[in-house]
């Protein structure tokens, strides 16, 4: 659904295709059940309502075959429940087992409060790391391996797949398959601390050719700075940001925060909270805690000139 990016009443992939009709079936049966009960309650009260309102003045009676109500309702309920049960088991069988020969394997590592994504290639030189934006080729079965270095998170892309928890010390797997190109929003779905609310990500499904082009782009190292501003900006990255971030091709190689090598190729920053444009990027670096209280990124107290230099350099990380 276009107006609600996290809605799971629509689907964009083979896994969600299995579940959406079942969800609608359950919703319709449920709504009908509620309406039937509401009508019966109103009818029952109107039908026998005693005159006068002093309860104790009304005679006590017994009669009617009340047990029939119970038996009939049990039998009537058994039908949709049996359908749901069988349909559920079929859907578990079709969606619960990850593909044996996936086209792509991703290591997704959620942590307070962002997503690390590692693309595994056949060779180390084919392997790279990115953050908060997962690209997949349309029509390919993608295996997602989940682990967490801190607390429990949950991986969820409503229009492609239900939730799978990422639990420390445990390797969980899930899988994705997009049936059409598009941007699909994902969200951490297990409470994980202060900024659980703003721990989003995006899945970008692309045609195989576009995906391949993107993948090759991601394998490149960062370009060398050209202008003096950019050179000073790189120095700030190397002296400050490198304690947590990495930019391949520079000495910044830490892994406790998002890889910035291709920062500008991503549509959002701060775990899909802010659009990635120069203004919001500058505002974010200037005071991360004001925009996302509880984020692990500290305020670096950079002055205006330093911010200019830094954003100038970051702007080259395409």
């Amino acid at each position: 659904m276009s107006g609600a990016p996290l809605s799971y009443l629509g689907s964009a992939g083979s896994k969600a295709h299995q579940v959406v009709p079942l969800t609608w079936f359950a919703l319709i049966v449920s709504t009908a059940t509620c309406l039937i009960f509401a009508a019966l309650i109103v009818a029952a009260v109107r039908r026998g309502r005693a005159e006068g309102d002093v309860v104790a003045a009304q005679a006590v009676i017994r009669g009617g075959n009340g047990l029939r109500w119970i038996f009939v309702s049990l039998i009537l309920a058994a039908v949709p429940i049996a359908v749901m049960l069988v349909w559920t088991m079929i859907a578990i069988a079709r969606t619960g087992v990850p593909p044996a020969h996936p086209a792509l394997v991703l290591d997704v590592t959620p942590q307070q409060f962002w997503w690390r994504i590692r693309y595994r290639g056949a060779l180390p030189s084919d392997t790279f790391t990115t953050a908060n934006e997962i690209h997949i080729p349309v029509g390919a079965k993608v295996l997602v391996r989940l682990n967490s270095p801190d607390v429990i998170h949950s991986f969820w892309v409503p229009s492609l797949s239900g939730k799978t928890d990422a639990i420390p010390g445990q390797n969980n797997v899930t899988w994705l398959e997009a049936s059409r190109p598009g941007r699909f929003r994902g969200q951490c779905a297990e409470f994980c601390g202060a900024e659980h609310a703003r721990m989003g990500f995006e899945v970008v499904a692309q045609s195989p050719a576009d995906f391949e082009a993107w993948r090759r782009g991601q394998l490149r190292s960062a370009p060398r700075p050209v202008t003096t501003e950019q050179v000073r900006g790189l120095a700030i990255v190397e002296y400050r940001c490198s304690l947590c971030h990495s930019v391949r091709g520079t000495i910044a190689g830490a892994g406790s925060a998002p890889d910035l090598t291709h920062l500008m190729s991503r549509a959002t920053i701060a775990a899909a909270q802010l659009p990635n444009n120069p203004g919001s990027l500058r505002g974010w670096i200037e005071d991360p805690q004001a925009r996302k209280p509880g984020t692990q990124m500290p305020n670096q107290h950079l002055d205006a000139a330093q911010l200019n230099d830094l954003t100038a350099y970051l702007g080259t990380l395409k």
Binding site: L6, I41, V45, V55, V60, T88, V151, G162, F191
Partner: protein, 647 residues
């Protein structure tokens, strides 16, 4: 000098002289010592109910603050930490400190009256259960008020609850407080079980007890079985946090999922424990206003027990996303589907009772009847969560928030408020105002549905739970504003209820012993009942002792005003577990401040442990030891030393 261990009780008639004698024996002494020492189940029951409603109000205010924050996108009324403490404390309060204790309060107050008994089986244990509950509530709320409330949800998942990620005292307050509350729940449950099986009036065989007794009995058995799991889990959490053990820390070989198993092994049965007694209230109250006995008593009683048995086998449906094998998911999914059927028995029975009866629409009736609809809504949404693939989408979204509020508010709060309208005249001798009652009901009903029905839709549109804010343009803005408005209307309805109670307590119409023409024994005694409940022990011949003349179905008639006198001291009658044959006269304990002192000692001990203060802990331990010694010291009067001759 020594009294015979056995005597045959004298059969006699109710009369003013007998009542005066019993009054002198059973009355609680005035003054502070009497207040702290009373073991009267009615006094304890009302204290439970009042305390639970105060905490309900606190939890409600917490929710209203959260709804201000969530009324629109990206609002900044609360910081994330404030919001997280609020939603965690709200859950803890409503689930642990309101929903279960309020039912214990009603059961404490009503059981001996329903069963034709003079008191609960263990009156002092009963007092202890209340004082420890109060101590736990004080302890947990101390944490919240000093800014160290729980901040990891009521479910409190590790590793976020471990010291590495949560270094404050928040989780220590929560862990120790929950262990304390577990003591209260456990002793209360043991008391209910023994009372149900041993304290019924002669003739009240097990197939004649009110459904509410079935509900609380079933819940109590479940509590005894599962509270140890959560107490243990919280103790292990505290050890992990303060002594560096590694039960839950994966880096040290621990297992985060162990917490979830232990917690939900307790948590899901607990969900049934906080609704089954309330369903019992509907099963007992609704028929009175329909002027006919409940349809399908035996099936409803069996359904109650069956719900609980199945309830032990569904805990994993809280953990469908944790990566368990598909085969075990299928098993727990099927069990979760199956639990629909026993619940449906109660729903069909209530509906048939209205259909086949001649309903008199009172406020109590409206609350009981609306429970049916709210239960159905909460039930079908629960059924959807039983389906693993659907649940993997639903779980941890607002759909679940809607579902759990329809169950807990719908099957706990609505029946409880109905029960107050129903039994308030018994407790106080005054009726609640019916006109204000209508306003009260409709405001609560409309407000509740306005607040919680749209949450299903925000959930389906993907709004996650436990978020302190949300971005605009997700399709949730308008619905959230509506939800916030509904929550304030709902709160206004609850406020009308409290106003009605405050006004009617002194100014309400005088009720008399039996304002509703009820079928069960509590309506056979005065309103409010005397400290000894019944002047003579009644003898029971049917399920509806006070409706026997009207129904005229059996030869035998219950005897209410003539029966065993038991006036030699503070005496009660113990009967056999199934058929309620009289077995022996039980000497009931006098009032005692022992339970109160024990609870105070436990509270001091807990604060000592919380702050690692050895002297404070030792002082608490000494108070506990002294209180236990004084309490348990053998007394000749209670025949605790003389071995009676068997014969």
């Amino acid at each position: 000098m020594s009294r015979p261990a056995y005597r045959t009780p004298v059969i006699g008639d109710d009369g003013p002289e007998l009542r005066a004698r019993l009054q002198a024996i059973w009355e609680t002494k005035p003054g502070l010592l009497g207040f702290l020492g009373t073991v009267d189940h009615k006094e304890i029951g009302i204290r439970y109910i009042v305390t639970a409603f105060l905490l309900l109000a606190a939890g409600g205010v917490e929710a209203l603050v959260m709804r201000l924050q969530l009324a629109g996108p990206d609002r900044r009324l609360l910081t994330p930490e404030q919001y997280n403490q609020l939603f965690s404390t709200h859950g803890m309060t409503m689930i642990f400190l309101y929903a279960s204790p309020v039912l214990s309060g009603f059961s404490n107050y009503l059981w001996p009256l329903l069963l034709g008994a003079r008191d609960m089986a263990f009156p002092r244990l009963n007092a202890l259960s209340y004082w420890v509950y109060l101590a736990a509530a004080i302890f947990l709320y101390t944490g919240f008020l000093v800014g160290a409330g729980p901040n990891d949800g009521w479910f409190n998942y590790v590793p976020y609850a471990l010291a590495e990620y949560n270094p404050g005292l928040n989780q220590d307050y929560y862990a120790l407080g929950m262990i304390l509350l577990g003591i209260s729940t456990s002793v209360g449950a043991a008391n209910f079980i023994v009372t149900a099986f041993k304290m019924r009036a002669p003739g009240m065989s097990i197939n004649r007890i009110p459904i509410m007794v079935w509900g609380t009995l079933t819940a109590s058995v479940a509590n005894l079985a599962v509270v140890p799991a959560v107490s243990l889990a919280f103790f292990m959490l505290w050890l992990d946090r303060r002594f560096g053990t590694h039960f839950f820390d994966s880096a040290g070989g621990g297992q985060p999922l162990l917490w979830q198993h232990l917690f939900w092994l307790f948590g899901h049965p607990w969900v049934y424990a906080i609704v089954l007694p309330a369903m019992g209230m509907v099963s007992d109250g609704l028929p009175v206003f329909c002027r006919r006995p409940l349809v399908g008593y035996s099936l409803v009683a069996l359904g109650t027990v069956a719900t609980m048995i199945l309830g032990f086998g569904v805990w994993v449906h809280h953990m469908f996303a944790t990566g368990l094998p598909a085969l075990s998911l299928s098993f727990f999914s099927a069990a979760s589907f199956a639990i629909t059927f026993p619940s449906l028995i109660a729903l069909a029975s209530w509906l048939a009772t209205i259909w086949l009866g001649r309903p008199v629409v009172t406020t109590a009736f409206l609350f009981f009847a609306s429970t049916i609809l709210l239960f159905v809504i909460g039930g079908v949404s629960g059924l959807m969560t039983a389906s693993v693939p659907i649940d993997l989408q639903l779980t941890d979204t607002y759909f679940i928030v809607a579902h759990l509020h329809y169950t807990i508010v719908g099957i706990n709060l609505f029946p409880v408020v109905g029960a107050v309208y129903f039994w308030f005249p018994k407790m106080t001798g005054r009726l609640l105002n019916e006109r204000l009652g209508r306003w009260n009901f409709w405001t609560m009903f409309v407000g509740f549905n306005l607040a919680f029905l749209p949450m299903h839709i925000t959930g389906l549109l993907g709004m996650p739970r436990r978020v302190y804010t949300y971005p605009a343009h997700m399709g949730w803005d308008g619905l959230n504003l509506l939800i916030s408005i509904g929550s304030y209307i709902f709160a206004a309805g609850v406020l009308l209820f409290l106003i009605n109670v405050a006004r009617s307590r002194r100014g309400g119409a005088v009720a008399g012993p039996d304002p509703w023409g009820g079928p069960t024994l509590e309506w056979a005694t005065t309103s409010p009942p005397p400290p000894y409940n019944f002047a003579v022990i009644p003898t029971i011949a049917s399920r509806h002792p006070l409706w026997e003349a009207a129904l005229d179905e059996e030869e035998a008639r219950s005897s209410i005003h003539r029966g065993m006198l038991l006036d030699h001291g503070k005496e009660a009658l113990a009967t056999s577990p199934m058929d309620a044959e009289p077995e022996r006269i039980v000497e009931m304990p006098e009032d005692s401040v022992g339970p109160f002192a024990l609870a105070v000692g436990l509270l001091v001990l807990l604060f000592g442990l919380l702050h690692f203060q050895p002297w404070l802990s030792a002082a608490g331990g000494l108070i506990v030891a002294a209180a236990l010694l004084a309490w348990l010291w053998p007394r000749r009067k209670l025949l605790e030393r003389a071995e009676p001759a068997h014969g």
